[in-house]
Amino acid sequence: MKGMTVIVKKTTQLIAGIIFMYGIYIILHGHLTPGGGFAGGVILAGSFILLILAFGSDFLHLVKEERGSTMYENLAILVFLLLSLTGLLAGAKIFFANWLPHGTPGELLSAGFLPLYNIFVGIEVAASILTIFLALVIFKEEVMK
């Protein structure tokens, strides 16, 4: 018997996608509502943690997942720094310069660079929290063996 009971498994299948969608909503509306990159990233990581909890470790290959999440974390922080560097290079001569058009407040496409920063901070936070969780789990599995 791997994972938790069939009730938890079926509900997880039903609800994990919706949780992921909600994390994306929090991230993309970070400049309009409370939340933003960090809170949305935590919810994104929560959907994967829910899958791992419900289905057990054999269903998702843990070590492979950990390599993937580490890679995503590094890539996301790299792209974040490159984006902030574009402000330095393109015109304004300021680190983290917001040189994109600002748009009208209240719309989805507004606030220049802030949604992009939010997206990459979200990926970064999700990947790093997932990495921490997987590292703890893998460490425990190795101790148990």
Binding site: T5, I7, T11, Q13, A16, I18, Y22, S47, L108
Partner: protein
């Protein structure tokens, strides 16, 4: 098939929580739904086409009304037991057999049992559901099976099997 299902469900969810119908909003929702479908598609249900039949929707509505009525009754039941000075409780765990086949139907039955008066699902092994009951009203298995599952089982069998 399951990828299409989760894409449509996610897009409906997105449109409900944002409730703005400009082009950038819907485009962002479509992209986010595509990402969700790509990641979570292989964990989703595959025989969802059954829910396209209108007969099942009718029984779903009947089930929903019964379920909400049972929820409200459950709350007054709990209030009676909690506020009574002598606290009339007689708890125990009973075993109930179900005739439902699919896993999703069993899950729905277990969730309904959790919200009905005085019962909570402990575990589900094969066809047996173990239920913690706050006031066991009878000792006869056939009698308490019909008391616990009630009319939920036949409704669920009609719309989710």
């Amino acid at each position: 098939m399951r990828y299409v299902t989760i894409f449509i469900l996610s897009l409906v969810f997105w449109l409900l929580i944002t409730f703005k119908f400009t082009v950038p909003d819907i485009a962002a929702g479509a992209v986010a739904s595509a990402i969700t479908a790509a990641i979570f598609g292989r964990y989703y249900f595959h025989n969802v086409y059954k829910f396209l039949q209108p007969r099942r929707w009718f029984w779903f509505v009947v089930y929903l009304v019964t379920f909400i009525w049972a929820c409200i009754k459950a709350n007054f039941d709990v209030a009676y037991r909690v506020l009574h000075p002598a606290m009339p409780i007689r708890p125990g765990i009973v075993k109930v057999k179900t005739t439902l086949r699919s896993d999703f139907a069993k899950t729905l039955l277990a969730n309904s049992i959790t919200m009905t008066p005085g019962t909570i699902t402990v575990d589900i092994i094969g066809d047996d559901i173990y239920i913690h009951w706050i006031y066991i009203r009878s000792e006869d298995p056939a009698q308490y099976t019909s008391m616990v599952t009630g009319r939920f089982e036949e409704y669920i069998k009609k719309f989710a099997e």
